[in-house]
Amino acid sequence: MNLLDIPVLGLALQLLGYLVTVCTQNGTIILALTAPLAFGALCGVMCERSGVVNIGIEGTMLAAAFVGWFVASIASQAMPADPSPFFGATPGLVIGLLAAIVCGMLVSAILAWLAVTLRADQIIAGTIINIVAAGITGYFDVLFSTNPIPTAGKFEAFVPPSFLTDLPVVGWLFSALLNQGPITMSLIVVVIVMEVLLFRSRWGLRTRAVGEHPKAAETVGISVIRLRYQNVILGGVFAGLAGAWFTIDFGNSFVGGMTGGRGFIALAALIFGRWRPVGAFLASLLFATSIALGTAIRTTPPTGQLGTILGAIPEQFFAALPYIVTIVVLAGVVGRSVAPAADGQPYERESVS
């Protein structure tokens, strides 16, 4: 008797098998899709661990995406060059990447100014960054549509040696990890480095203290305000990388609103991952899988009964899947997870008179 013929159990097994197939066949693109989410979530980790809520990750990413593309395009015009063997990098692309990072840092600095110095409501401050970024990039997007400039292209994915990718069982893993552009490839390393630093370094200890009990930190001589500024701006580096992924790593052009809510999914990944870099990465992986799943079901649907069932579900459901998953995560996980204790509370220094 075929195991798959048992009604419900068989269906579940078939679903499981299908999911595994999708993941292994699409491992490369799943990891690539994880990059903007995870870097966005890392930005969130830096900010919220220090006690600053950053709703503006979406806007920061969008601004960095645009700036990265624009500067890369201009720089490529000024310094034309052939793509180098190293990720297909050209001076233009590299300058664009740096510009995206700097843009992320600047936008985050503005958020830090609003939240830490002006002590404005952090959620409003983040929302305003989103709105301003959307407005300005949308405006420039229209201008550049009517006045197109030659783009810089994008970084090329590294091609791993075939003896690794041809391995049975684990070949797809090597392909997924190594057949990526520079930003995605650096992701796992960055995640591990940040996790280690956050829990084993002096900076990490002080950062977490500032997010949990800023007054205790201040009384042992740590400047809460300065550390918050530093960390929010560091978060901006990650948001900048996330933005650059859209326009010079994964894609090669800018489209208005192209971040598509990824900055908010990153927030959910942050919470689901318990404010830890590794957790945020794993959660981002989950969300990216749900994004990829939607496309996979349309392009390579399963066969048989499962295929009929899945085929009957409208494609829009799968496009909406990551957002639905986010809500479910927030509703279910929230009760059990604990944010840094001082998260979101503006800090008022004791006046030294």
Binding site: E48, V53, I55, W113, L114, L118, A120, D121, Q122, I123, I124, A125, T127, I128, I131, V132, A133, A134, G135, I136, G138, Y139, F140, D141, V142, L143, F144, T146, N147, G260, G261, F264, L267, A268, L270, I271, P314, Q316, F317, A319, A320, Y323, I324, T326, I327, L330, A331, G332, V334, G335, S337, V338, A339, P340, D343, G344, Q345
Partner: protein, 375 residues
């Protein structure tokens, strides 16, 4: 009282002025792209075109009123939850759901008597919007899921719902592109039209009625008192025997009602049907409207009219000055920025801080939600 009113108006006015200046700088800097040459006088031409396009003719005024209508309604739907300590960014999703429901019911009743079809279609849109506002409200009240993230997620989900419905069950037979059937007799009648293409439909009067109702609710009823107290001091509200969770849900439901009305108005009054790719920025525009109007219903009306004028004048701005209509988005964002960083406005215009009133209103969102996206 007059002094307090004056103080309330100074910062928004200052923010607008500063935004216009920043906008002028952007216009000048981008003029080579827009009009192929560096033009220092372009800002003047741009702003003048905005004014001309919105207030310079009867058609312009009608366009302004028509554009302001959804802005005011959705602005109210942001301002009301704000009073309860909630940040409703779901205007876009609630609007789409209200619109698609009105398109559906309107098309279904397109042959019926207008006296039945219209009210039923409008009501359907409102109730659908209310249901879509209920979801994040309930989630916040009973699971603590922060409404800022859930409403944005719901916005994206609503886009998919609309896409599915319009390309599927609601697709008008025989249409060349995916769209819903015409609403026929469910349409809002045109009450005034000087030139074709600039109709003033009945729905234009809804926002003002709604503003008065919201004002009445907030300041004249016990429920409004409870809503405001829950936002101003949730602990005191609890001590006073109010039920914060119920109030959260109620507020979001009313907000959804208002946005659903706006969506229904747009379909039944302006479009007549809905396309699959229908997109709207009204949810975020409404945030500007609500904050510019200091979250007071009458302030929201004024701010909505201002933003509506800008939207109405934008096409003329693009045609005669060459600046894309997206400049309005830029201006709006910059106004919002200066409202939040109001310290800059105060410094520039030497406005002394209000004794009570201004900054604390914007501070309640984080306070009652515990600040973190997790709570």
């Amino acid at each position: 009282m007059i002094a307090r009113l004056r103080a309330q108006l100074l910062v928004p006015a200052g923010a607008i002025v500063l935004a216009l200046i920043v906008g002028a700088v952007i216009i000048i800097v981008t003029s080579p792209l827009a009009v192929q040459k560096l033009d220092l006088s372009l800002p003047l031409a741009t702003y003048w075109a905005l004014v001309q396009g919105s207030l310079g003719s009867i058609d312009g005024i009608v366009d302004t009123l028509r554009a302001a209508s959804p802005l005011i309604l959705v602005g109210l739907a942001v301002a009301l939850p704000f009073k309860a300590g909630l940040f409703n960014i779901g205007g876009q999703g609630q609007f789409l759901i209200g619109a698609v429901t009105a398109a559906w019911v309107g098309a279904a009743l397109s042959g019926a008597s207008p006296f039945v079809a219209l009210p039923v279609a409008v009501l359907a849109g409102m109730l659908a919007g209310a249901a879509y506002g209920f979801i994040p409200g309930w989630l916040k009240a009973y699971t603590g899921a922060h409404e800022v993230v859930t409403t944005i997620m719901l916005n994206y989900i609503a886009m998919q719902i609309v896409s599915y419905l319009i390309q599927g069950p609601l697709k008008a037979p025989g249409a060349t592109f995916a769209r819903s059937a015409d609403v026929g007799n469910s349409a809002l009648p045109v009450i005034f039209q000087q030139t074709a293409g600039h109709p003033a439909h009945l729905g234009i009067i809804f926002p003002y009625i709604a503003a008065v109702l919201v004002w009445w609710l907030l300041y004249r009823t016990t429920i409004g008192f409870e809503i405001r107290t829950a936002g101003a001091n949730p602990d005191a509200a609890r001590y006073a025997g109010m039920r914060p969770r119920f109030l959260i849900v109620l507020t979001m439901v009313i907000a959804g009602l208002l946005v659903g009305l706006a969506g229904a108005g747009e379909i039944l009054g302006v479009q007549g049907y809905m396309v699959a790719g229908y997109s709207t920025n009204v949810g975020f525009d409404a945030i500007t409207v609500a904050l510019l109007g200091r979250t007071h219903p009458f302030g929201v009306v004024l701010a909505g009219l201002l933003l509506g004028a800008m939207r109405a004048g934008a096409p003329l701005m693009q045609i005669s000055a060459g600046i894309p209509v997206q400049m309005v988005d830029v201006l709006q964002g910059v106004i919002l920025f200066f409202l939040t960083a109001d310290i800059v406005v105060r410094w520039v215009f030497r406005i002394r801080a209000a004794g009570s009133g201004g900054p604390e209103k914007l501070a309640t969102v984080s306070a009652s939600s515990g600040g973190s996206t997790a709570k």
